[in-house]
Symmetry: D2
Subunit: 153 residues, 4 copies
Amino acid sequence: MTAAFSFPIVPRYAEVDQQGVVFHGHYLTWFDEASTAFLDHVGVPVVGFDEWDVDLQTVHAELDYLAPVRWRDDVRVEVRCRSTGRTSFTLGFDVVRRDPDGTEMPTTRGRNVYVVVSTQDWTSRELPIPLRKALTSVAGQGRNAPNGGTVLP
Amino acid sequence: MTAAFSFPIVPRYAEVDQQGVVFHGHYLTWFDEASTAFLDHVGVPVVGFDEWDVDLQTVHAELDYLAPVRWRDDVRVEVRCRSTGRTSFTLGFDVVRRDPDGTEMPTTRGRNVYVVVSTQDWTSRELPIPLRKALTSVAGQGRNAPNGGTVLP
Amino acid sequence: MTAAFSFPIVPRYAEVDQQGVVFHGHYLTWFDEASTAFLDHVGVPVVGFDEWDVDLQTVHAELDYLAPVRWRDDVRVEVRCRSTGRTSFTLGFDVVRRDPDGTEMPTTRGRNVYVVVSTQDWTSRELPIPLRKALTSVAGQGRNAPNGGTVLP
Amino acid sequence: MTAAFSFPIVPRYAEVDQQGVVFHGHYLTWFDEASTAFLDHVGVPVVGFDEWDVDLQTVHAELDYLAPVRWRDDVRVEVRCRSTGRTSFTLGFDVVRRDPDGTEMPTTRGRNVYVVVSTQDWTSRELPIPLRKALTSVAGQGRNAPNGGTVLP
């Protein structure tokens, strides 16, 4: 079981609200960037989906807030494939804050479900084989996953 | 059982991505604005929470994509109180698109869980009574709610 | 000389930074929405530009900060056509805050220069006649404009 | 004369509009992040301004569009100090795109004027000496600057 993919991100000043913490909606943008980098990392970049005449739709997104992220905090987004289905897959995201004393903690946890859709008629399609292979090779890397297999999120 | 609160919103050009649809992360901003207007509507504006030394934290947010919203579409966000708890409450959101032929459809559905926190120590607090009264008077207005009482989301 | 076009806007919670004021970058989004509404108002909606095989490019944008806008402030964006050229035109924007005591003040002033470009080759095109007519009928409505004619910004 | 400070940035999917290019308003967010990194780079991080009881206000911002930036383009923001005044200074920004064939071109140019303000009464203050020293050591690094001294933008 390999480690999760880690995506470094610098909280932007404009993302911090008047409570002094990153506004929760911006995490979906962070997750979007992290998912793009994750797919690059596992060898199936989104821009290559054109060859298969498919694209991705984010059909479900959710997040749970655990602790704040402030401006200039040292954070990263950890990405794991949580599960794969016939036409969909789920990525899990942990925003991890590293404090000056070296302690690390997840601050927000998220989960996106993506459906593969045809760019012809925008209906769902089976995961292209290279995508399925890339995802299942890394699926179930979450904390609670007993092995490297496909697990439910 | 009164009708849901309806919050009109104009999709911004900058919110539409290169697929030609509103980027999903922006719905959380829409829901945030809609929730503020909803609390105004039921008589407990957020700015008044100062008097009770409390504030709101969005501890969970989720959304399900059903259909696209494009630039210049006619949309609104319907807001309903889905449930109230001791220290938290849940609002449900439906982004409803009205097409030129008059048909209406929900396009994205969301749900936020809010916790009331002390502005002194940021730990959770019971819902102030006026807030509880305002929310329970309108709770359970969702499609599946058999009555106007407090329901689980 | 008619009054400027007034575009109401509600500052979003997510637009306010940790200094408690609207982050300056968001004004360009406000101006973009205001310009769309302005073109609707003068009878040449942007979506109709397709018929002329042209689109608009914002080639210059600038803003000057005068005073803050905070969450829940009552604001509007006033839009005026500052000048028209052969292939371009300039809109001026004033973010006006109305305080509870009724006083009004401009808080940020902006100016965008738009070029009409062909959707075929993205090079500049002359202003379509209906667009020119619509703009010159309202050009020069700024505070310093002695008449309703075309003026330099 | 040292080289300009270069700030790498990855265009976010959510920043690209339905014309397929980065929406112009986002450049102000990029410049904001680049300016923060620039001040770190020259040894006067913004968070340290607290010690001097001052903060920065962006009182003017402008940008000129030269060429598009698309999703997955390789870009950076070059930052230069254009000039320093008694209570203000100006940073210049160039968004530079590097194409696969190695050619580089500026795509958008910007300029922000910052005023140093007291955190007590929010009126302007003279540039703290360490800030002035840091800025003048790098001022005038623009293309047209004949020397390293303080120049008008």
